[in-house]
């Protein structure tokens, strides 16, 4: 009888093209997602070497990082941004790659449109020149971010040099309390694993708490695996996955046959992981980051930690530097921290369920007078769905700005940025120094927590929210 295998083992074994003596293995890549910021140099490399794209039909592109989220009928004001987007357009035309362009109804953040269009499927290998490619692992794929040289390699050879990563089971028992979301769960996990705890591993999230999560919640969890240092996060496909995919544009025509194949993917009983950790969903409270990396996080009911209480000297100096940058004092209650801006969006939290959660908090309330708040849907489809449900009007009536789809203020490559010193409750994934704008101060939270902070003007425990 063959040895029991993990989900990672099965996908790896199936995609191993060859493992020549003295070389790193070559694995086949099923889907390659491309955006404007990390691809231009790769296409240029192909041109210089006279190479073609091996499988254009396995490659999908969209502009997302660098695009304006305001009126799309206007020309892009920044000529360098415009050049990058024009370059993506020209490259897709030249190499025969399907582009979901600005103005296309299906344009959006690459990690939102992949699952939404059915490009992402269980058992696949998926890469993109973006570290949040881990998102797609929520559907039971092996998905990870690569650099531009590797983008060029995949374009040319539809394969990648990879040594097999180690496997890491993150098991979550129990369930989440009302008001506690997938975002809180993954921030809590990162806080315990640290930003490098997952380095060298692919995380597989297992256990009853994970199985209860909806498809979009699973994407939020896998999305942030990279913030724990893991290149990929994955969740075995199940009925929830198949129900999510059924009927999407690019799924296999014989869907039931595909499901039968996908049902063989989950890790076998007794499969061994290189490392395992277990958490309890019931231990998680709504989370707020206080520092400048996602592992610097506490519950909303806690206070800003004191670096002096930290035993590790490196943690202590990082925390002290972070507090200085963030303009925070140790011992301040998180709920007493006032905010200036709210950003609801990003590949972590810009899907329809995120917007529904935020809208339900906002309904019947007004954004605090000191706060500027915006919602940036993850894709054209999410935006249309939200508008069909009237969520846009809930947001705009409360004083939120309602934008077009893109990465926006998650990384502030486009004009959506924080001014120096501004403090933001953000549903995005990184609170690094300057991430949302030089001198900007980012606190990562769930969509519901961001919405509540917009209304009250400070962090507020969503578990005590008065819903209208």
């Amino acid at each position: 009888m063959p040895a029991p295998r993990t989900l990672l083992d099965k996908i790896w074994d199936d995609h191993l093209v060859c493992s020549p003596d003295g070389e790193q293995p070559l694995i086949y890549i099923d889907r390659h997602l491309v955006h404007e910021v990390t691809s231009a140099q790769a296409f240029e490399g192909l041109r210089v070497a006279g190479r073609r794209v091996r499988r254009p039909e396995a490659t999908f592109a969209t502009p997302d990082h660098n695009i304006p989220t305001t009126d799309r009928s206007l020309p892009i004001a920044d000529p360098i941004s415009k050049q990058q987007i024009d370059t993506l357009r020209a490259n897709c035309r030249e190499f025969g790659i399907r582009l979901f362009d600005l103005g296309d109804a299906d344009q959006g953040i690459v990690h939102v449109i992949g699952p939404e269009l059915g490009i992402t499927q269980p058992g696949m290998t998926i890469v993109c020149g973006d570290s949040h490619t881990a998102t797609h692992g929520a559907l039971g794929a092996l998905a990870f971010g690569i650099g531009t040289s590797e983008v060029e390699h995949v374009l040319a050879a539809q394969t990648l040099r990879q040594s097999k990563p180690k496997s890491f089971e993150v098991r979550v028992e129990g369930e989440l309390y009302p008001g506690v979301t997938a975002k809180d769960l993954v921030l809590y996990i990162i806080g315990r694993l640290t930003t490098e705890g997952g380095a060298g591993y692919v995380i597989e999230y297992t256990g009853p708490c994970i199985r209860r999560l909806g498809m979009e919640e699973r994407m939020t969890v896998c999305n942030m695996s990279i913030e724990a240092g893991a290149r990929a996060g994955m969740i075995a496909p199940d009925r929830i996955t198949f129900d999510y995919l059924r009927g999407r544009d690019l799924v296999p025509k014989d869907f039931d046959r595909a499901v039968a194949r996908w049902e063989t993917l989950p890790s076998d009983a007794g499969a061994r992981y290189d490392r395992s950790e277990t958490f309890s969903g019931g231990d998680v409270v709504p989370q707020v980051t206080w520092g400048t990396n996602p592992a610097q996080v506490v519950g909303v009911d806690a206070t800003v930690p004191d670096p002096a209480s930290m035993t590790d000297p490196s943690d202590r100096s990082s925390a002290a530097r972070a507090l200085e940058y963030m303009g925070l004092q140790a011992g301040t209650p998180i709920a007493a921290i006032p905010i200036d801006r709210v950003f609801i969006g990003s590949c972590t939290n810009s899907r329809i369920e995120d917007l529904r959660a935020a809208a339900s908090v906002v309904r019947g309330h007004q954004v605090a007078s000191r706060v500027r708040a915006m919602v940036v849907p993850g894709s054209g489809r999410v935006k249309r769905q939200a508008e069909a449900e009237g969520l846009d009007r809930v947001f705009t009536a409360a004083g939120f700005e309602w934008r077009e789809a893109g990465c926006s203020m998650c990384l502030g490559m486009n004009p959506d940025t924080l001014a120096p010193g501004e403090r933001c409750a953000s549903t995005s994934n990184r609170n690094f120094e300057g991430r949302q704008g030089k001198g900007g101060r980012t606190h990562l939270v769930s969509p519901a927590m961001a919405a509540a902070a917009a209304v009250t003007g400070h962090f507020t425990d969503i578990r005590q929210w008065r819903y209208h």
């Binding site: 093209v17 086949y28 140099q41 091996r54 360098i80 060029e152 380095a199």
Partner: protein, 208 residues
Amino acid sequence: MQPFTTLTGNVAPLDRANVDTDQIIPKQFLKRIERTGFGQFLFFDWRFLPDGSPDPAFELNQPIRQGASILLARRNFGCGSSREHAPWALADYGFRSVIAPTFADIFFNNCFQNGMVPVKLDESDVEELFRRAAAAEAAGQAYRLTVDLQNCLVHDDGGFSRSFPVDSFRRHCLLEGLDNIDLSLKHVDQITAWENAHGLASLKGGAT
């Protein structure tokens, strides 16, 4: 790719952990469509004051560290995004090796694609290098190290010598300056065989 065999150069200590790619090359500089010219933007928000002048307090702006080719840092160097602009900026600035106790996976991979050697040493060895660099600089001299990829050794003239781990295939590619895509396309028959075995033969998209 530029081969890497042995590098002897000045060391620039950057005593920080979790140096992320947003610090190495802030996003406002990711709009270029070339691989070159990123060095001027390296550590931009740390390096320059709001008026655009160099911040004298920033580690790399110390006169003694000018021209350094080896960067010494703390753990989890290069965490964050996949942007290869990070190693491009480091290389364009003049660094050909980074020494740290641990690196983020994607950054680590990206170094090898750009003729740079990321050197992982034990935390205590990195601590020792910081001590030696501080002592040399206190005496008015830049600290010099040799990164020898042929023998996988880091050593100085004062008795420090440690081996470091490196994947043998990647080492070989760096030593020879090999084009990774050419190497992979030598296996094109196996790639095609995989596609055929997985029912992809009918799809268009030719061999290269």
